[in-house]
């Protein structure tokens, strides 16, 4: 495979001025980022600061209630800052520090990547600017407040759909302006090479732990691994070590929004076509004129018209099955997990739970499903309250 490509997907579709800084990052990632010393330092932080390894928890009540397969939850929600995002932020911000960068920029949708990056910047003493769509600023207020407390500057983006896509556009513009001092810490497995590969690398700690844990607990591989997919970082992170085990079915669940109609969902791999956005060739939701459409999902973290290029490849070769959960299905799953297990999931992760709820009853009692519980739901309580009323 060509470097930076996953089959026909990926590449570097960026303005020329960004090419040298991307190449610098690529070089730093493959030398510093791959060195034993760096990994040791990163693991120290992941373990002692972020709280790794996270448990693989057997959701006994939920499994019994559904009456089929055993459901295990990979508890990324227990990490510092409340989601898997910290795995990647610590990795990239530590790398930026080693590269001598002084200023970090990042985009955020639900606010989880923004909070994680602001946290890593506070810890490693770097200036931090977070771009966030104005709509997301409104619907994820507690996270905005958290970022401010952590010392980051949050810039609301009032353009286009005022969501994640527009926040990425604005972060890219900032980067074009400040290439010499700044590193862009992308929060998902999207963007130009080396981001999709690097983000997968930093997130694959989820899958590596899961594989070890399930072998220890059950002595065998799971039948299915399920994760939600926005840009796809938690999904690629848990899938990565399982890809070579063909007997394990991998399922990615996208934001089905209100309906399959273009503009009413964020299910890029289910309903999109191949296109180019934010530096990579991948599946994309756009209209007949090539204009990227505004998406809808109840979950801000899934509300994005693109998807990481490796997911497009995994779809094309048929290794991962991609499906979607609608807003109301995610809400039902949100409630059910809260009530049966006392775990309030992030609305993003609730999409993955929704798929498990559909599949488990049809499976045998000795079969195993693992769901990546990528984040906790405290940040979503405002949305849930609005929705219920």
């Amino acid at each position: 495979m060509r470097k930076g490509w996953f089959g026909n997907f990926g590449g570097k579709y960026i303005p020329e001025v960004l090419v040298p800084v991307i190449e610098e990052l690529e070089k730093a990632y493959y030398t510093i980022g791959k060195s034993k010393e760096f990994r040791k330092e990163l693991w120290y932080l992941l373990k002692n600061y972020a709280g790794r390894p996270t448990p693989l928890y057997f959701a006994k009540n939920l499994s019994e209630y559904l009456g089929g397969a055993k459901i295990y939850l990979k508890r990324e929600d227990l990490l510092h800052t409340g989601a898997h995002k910290i795995n990647n932020s610590l990795g990239q911000v530590l790398l930026a520090k080693k590269m001598g960068k002084k200023r970090i920029i990042a985009e955020t949708g639900a606010g989880q990547h923004g909070v994680a990056t602001a946290t890593a910047c506070a810890l490693l003493n770097l200036e931090c600017v977070i771009y966030m769509g104005k709509l997301d600023v409104e619907r994820q207020k507690p996270n905005v407040f958290r970022m401010n407390i952590l010392g980051a500057k949050v810039v609301p983006v009032e353009k286009g759909s005022c969501t994640l896509k527009d926040a990425i556009n604005e972060a890219m513009r900032d980067w074009i302006e400040n290439v010499e001092t700044t590193l862009y810490v992308i929060g998902s497995a999207v963007g130009p090479h080396p981001y999709p590969t690097m983000v997968k690398d930093f997130q694959s700690v989820i899958g590596k732990e899961t594989l070890k844990q399930i072998m220890k607990i059950e002595g065998r591989l799971p039948d299915k691994v399920i994760a939600c997919v926005g840009g796809g970082s938690n999904a690629i992170g848990i899938f990565a070590p399982f890809i070579k085990y063909k007997e394990v079915e991998l399922i990615g669940v996208e934001g089905g929004g209100k309906s399959p109609k273009l503009g009413e969902n964020a299910a890029t791999l289910c309903f999109g076509k191949v296109g180019i956005l934010h530096g990579a060739k991948s599946y994309l939701l756009y209209d007949e004129n090539g204009q990227v459409v505004e998406t809808h999902s109840i979950s801000a973290g899934l509300d994005y018209p693109g998807v990481g290029p490796e997911h497009s490849y995994l779809k094309e070769i048929g290794r991962v099955r991609y499906t979607y959960a609608k807003d109301e299905e995610a809400l039902e799953a949100f409630k059910l997990l809260s009530q049966k297990e006392g775990i309030i999931p992030a609305l993003e992760s609730a999409h993955a739970i929704a798929e498990a709820i559909k599949l488990a009853p049809k499976m045998k009692k000795d079969q195993i499903i693992i769901v990546n519980l990528s984040g906790r739901g405290d940040k979503d309580l405002g949305i849930i309250m609005d929705y219920i009323h």
Partner: protein, 252 residues
């Protein structure tokens, strides 16, 4: 096929004006283009294809493309714009836009643009690899492609870009998105132009930040042409009722 274009370019030292097709309206954008051409302010026109996510553009051009999108402008309208302009005066017109709208129906769009009389394409978010992949298609449709060089492009990459450029080299003047600037580092730009020319004597034009006649003159002094966009769009935006006289001020 590009030999004549290159020779004429270097001789003419054109001022290249970017216009967003459909801003403020379709018919006004045609009139503005005709005005620029007939008064000798522009020797080449860049016909801007609006896109929902223009990451390399500053506030002014972002605004104009949003208006154009609201006006329902598509690639077919851009082709019509080029056709109208070409029948008014036979000057080179390049279609400029981000890759996705072009890629969405690639062959159909290339055919449409060729039929309209477009000289070639300018795509700010395409990479050298992808240019390579579509060069045979561009050749088939007889369209030129412009390569971008930035202040931080290294020589190895510059060679690759120059080798694949069939149109002109678009030299990005400075870091940052499109938009007017007060100052450009002419000395360092002169060096970059010389480096490019050392690889091959391809036409080079400088763009990003140029906002008045004085800067146009300076750009032409050290390269083969000047590209101006935001200043013109800004004049249209700020003076919806008398933009012709405001545009004139830029070039005088």
């Amino acid at each position: 096929m590009n030999k004549d274009f290159w020779d004429t370019f270097k001789k003419t030292k054109p001022t290249i004006v970017y216009l967003t097709v459909g801003f403020p309206t379709y018919s006004e954008s045609v009139e503005i283009a005709k005005f620029l051409v007939s008064n000798g302010y522009a020797q080449i026109i860049e016909a801007g294809i609006p896109f929902s996510d223009p990451i390399a553009d500053g506030e002014v051009i972002q605004y104009s493309t949003q208006v154009a999108l609201k006006n329902g402008i598509m690639i077919d309208d851009v082709a019509k714009f080029i056709e109208e302009l070409k029948s008014f005066r036979d000057i080179p017109v390049f279609a400029m836009g981000y890759y996705n709208p072009i890629y969405a129906n690639l062959e159909r769009n290339l055919e449409k643009l060729k039929k309209s009389g477009a000289q070639g394409l300018i795509i700010p978010d395409i990479n050298v690899e992808e240019i390579e992949a579509i060069l045979p298609l561009l050749k088939e449709y007889g369209l030129l492609i412009c390569g971008f060089v930035a202040p931080n492009t290294n020589e190895k990459r510059m060679k690759e870009i120059v080798r694949k450029t069939t149109g002109f080299i678009y030299l990005v003047s400075s870091y940052g998105t499109t938009g007017m600037r007060d100052y450009l580092n002419w000395e360092s730009l002169r060096n970059i132009v010389q480096k490019v020319k050392g690889i091959e004597n391809v036409p080079v034009a400088i763009g990003f930040g140029i906002k008045n006649a004085e800067m146009i003159r300076k750009a032409k002094e050290i390269s083969d042409g000047a590209i101006i966009g935001s200043a013109v769009i800004n004049a249209i935006k700020n003076s919806p009722s008398n933009y012709f006289s405001e545009i004139e001020k830029i070039f005088k």
